[in-house]
């Protein structure tokens, strides 16, 4: 499902070239739950961004579901991200002017592959499943941070992605909410079979994964 070969990322700064990720080789089979762990600044979010088609690698390749993400044209990569990858960020990432149901429906609306009523039915179903059935018409500012994270998960699932990437999705949440969010992600992985890659520095969360990738100074150490 996910194959990285010699994936690297470096930045040119005034003080010279800074290497964020160095020659990473990674294989995550379809349907697996993998956790990428490491300290802050170790390069795990940068690796995640390269996998998700959000940040172009300086070198190496990233294949998702058999497609070399970075060999695609810009528009093709946008369509690929839309169709194949779901992304849950480490911060509240909802558009404040849209109702919750519209936030969830947005990726499908942008993808233009399904009729609008079908998209809204599916968005409503996802919100219902995540316990937010009473808040279809609410705006992000009217719900809690944990609920916002659930809406972001629903949005990530609207197009039935093959790969779900979660970048520290519970970093600013209380312990109980963190458990609830993780339960939702694990349910998606186990019930639907969606490949889940989770970036975290919480070892307790990582312990639930089938595969743990430990990164330090931009390289895999275990």
């Amino acid at each position: 499902m996910l194959v990285c070969r010699q994936a690297s990322k470096s930045y040119a700064t005034e003080r010279g070239v800074v290497s964020a990720v160095t020659a990473i080789d990674l294989d995550v089979p379809a349907g697996r739950f993998a956790a990428i762990i490491g300290r802050s600044g170790s390069g795990k979010s940068t690796l995640m961004a390269m996998i998700g088609g959000l940040s172009r690698p300086s070198g190496g390749t990233v294949e998702v579901d058999g497609t070399d993400v970075w060999r695609l044209s810009e528009n093709a990569r946008a369509a690929f991200r839309n169709e194949k990858i779901g992304y849950v960020f480490q911060f509240a990432s909802l558009l404040p002017t849209l109702r919750l149901i519209d936030n969830v429906a947005l990726p499908a609306m942008l993808g233009r592959r399904r009729p609008v009523p079908e998209i809204h039915t599916r968005a409503a179903g996802l919100l219902e499943r995540l316990g937010l059935g009473a808040y279809f018409d609410a705006y992000p500012s009217e719900i809690s941070a944990g609920e916002q994270r659930r809406v972001a998960i629903a949005r990530a699932l609207i197009n039935d992605p093959a790969l779900l990437l979660a970048d520290e999705p519970t970093s600013d949440l209380d312990e109980q909410t963190e458990i609830e969010i993780m339960d939702e992600l694990l349910a998606v992985n186990r019930e639907v079979g969606t490949t889940l890659v989770l970036v975290t520095h919480n070892l307790a969360l990582a312990d639930q994964a089938e595969q743990i990738v430990h990164i330090a100074n931009g390289a895999i150490v275990a």
Partner: protein, 405 residues
């Protein structure tokens, strides 16, 4: 579907910062209103000047040396004389100080069939395309173009419009009648195109003398001349006398030339100001949308991350700007119409009361100027927002999400 979605997002974004959106719309409304009102009034003033100033006569008259001329306050027609000039003599000289020039032929006749038997009638040939001292005085005319066989009567003559007028037995149609000018030749004249004049010349009986030289094709009695912008009467006079032998230059009231040239320069200045105003609006919109894009980097990154194409991201920002500036443009035009109403009730009313004609821009051209002002305002929004949106959309989604785009 996506178009509606992007428009909906753009509208919601405008609603997020109501005060900022209001100020942007207000700024564009003021700019567009000034440009619309300025353009409409400028065209109206230009048209009014064309009528008003040309009614005051030419700046100078070029006639054969030796011609007797009556100096009047307004140079509207040449005087009858036996002397002639070549019709292309001024054009051949190519003088920079000479602007428009209207050639005229004049012959004074009797027994023409106009008026009583011994009435002296001035038949005056004009080039309708170059004339600027006769047609502006038209008080009434037929609702069609001036053509071969038509005549225009001076204020001192009377015949119904569209009636037939026999001149030396040849039928002519009364196309129009002129207002009172106080210039004798102008008031007594019967004006016609060169083509009609030449056709009539063949029918004119000779009474024991030679045929007047002016009846020959390619000959004219003289020219009424308007100075080129910036040129003085002295410069033009010197240039004409140096380049063309055997002519006399009669100068009109130089203060009128100065006023006309000054107003023309003022109108050009207003046009330049309007162009500058639109340019500054474009810069303002661009700066504002650069700031808006910076403020929304995270959201743009998020949109990109969930699969928005570059064109969709640019489209959303451009639609937002076009809606704001288009609404501003429409409001500006509305304000402009109100301002022109006030103008009409005050200054124009006063001018018309003292006999100064003010020619308003006609409705189709006013609508065209209004539409152009709105479209230009919207185009400024599109241009001003395109570059910041294009730059941001080209960044990596990850950089945008982290606020580094």
């Amino acid at each position: 579907m996506t178009g509606w979605l992007l428009t909906s997002l753009a509208l919601q974004n405008l609603g997020r910062r109501k005060a900022r959106s209001f100020l942007l719309i207000a700024a564009v409304a003021i700019g567009s209103g000034v440009v619309f009102t300025g353009a409409a009034l400028m065209r109206s003033i230009d048209d009014s000047m064309a009528v008003g100033f040309t009614r005051l006569g030419a700046d100078m008259m070029v006639v054969p040396d030796g011609t007797l001329t009556n100096i009047t306050a307004a140079l509207l027609t040449v005087e009858p004389t036996d002397l002639v000039l070549d019709a292309d003599v001024l054009a051949r000289a190519r003088l920079a100080s000479v602007g428009r020039s209207a050639p005229q032929k004049i012959v004074r006749v009797e027994h023409s069939g106009i008026g009583s038997h011994h009435d002296l009638v001035d038949l005056i040939g004009i080039d309708p395309a170059r004339d600027f001292t006769v047609q502006p005085w038209l008080k009434e005319k037929l609702n069609r173009a001036f053509r071969h066989g038509d005549v225009i009567l001076g204020a001192g003559r009377d015949a119904p419009l569209d009636s037939q007028l026999l001149i030396f037995g040849k039928p002519h149609v009364v196309y129009g009648k002129l207002g009172r000018t106080g210039v004798g030749t102008h008031e007594r004249g019967v004006f016609m195109s060169f083509e009609t004049f030449d056709a009539l010349a063949a029918a004119m009986p000779l009474h024991g003398g030679a045929r007047p030289a002016v009846l020959a094709p390619g000959k004219v009695t003289g020219f009424l001349v308007e100075l080129a912008p910036g040129a003085t009467a002295l410069q033009a006079r010197f240039a004409i006398l140096s380049a063309i032998k055997g002519v006399k230059v009669v100068t009109g009231d130089s203060s009128l030339s100065g006023i006309r040239q000054g107003l023309a320069a003022l109108l050009q200045g207003i046009l330049a100001l309007m162009v500058l105003m639109f340019a500054s609006m474009a810069v303002m919109v661009s700066v504002l949308f650069s700031a808006i894009v910076t403020e929304r980097r995270g959201e743009l990154g998020l949109l990109k991350a969930i699969g928005a194409r570059r064109a969709q991201m640019i489209g959303m920002m451009v639609i937002e700007a076009v809606i704001a500036t288009g609404v501003g443009g429409a409001l500006g035009v509305t304000l402009g119409v109100l301002v022109m109403r006030l103008y009409e009730r005050s200054l124009v009313y006063y001018l018309e009361n003292i006999g100064v004609p003010f020619v308003w821009l006609d409705l189709p051209r006013t609508v065209a100027v209004a539409a152009a002002a709105i479209v230009l305002a919207a185009a400024i929004g599109a241009l001003g927002s395109f570059y910041p949106a294009w730059r941001a959309s080209g960044r990596d989604a990850y950089d945008l999400v982290r606020g580094e785009g």
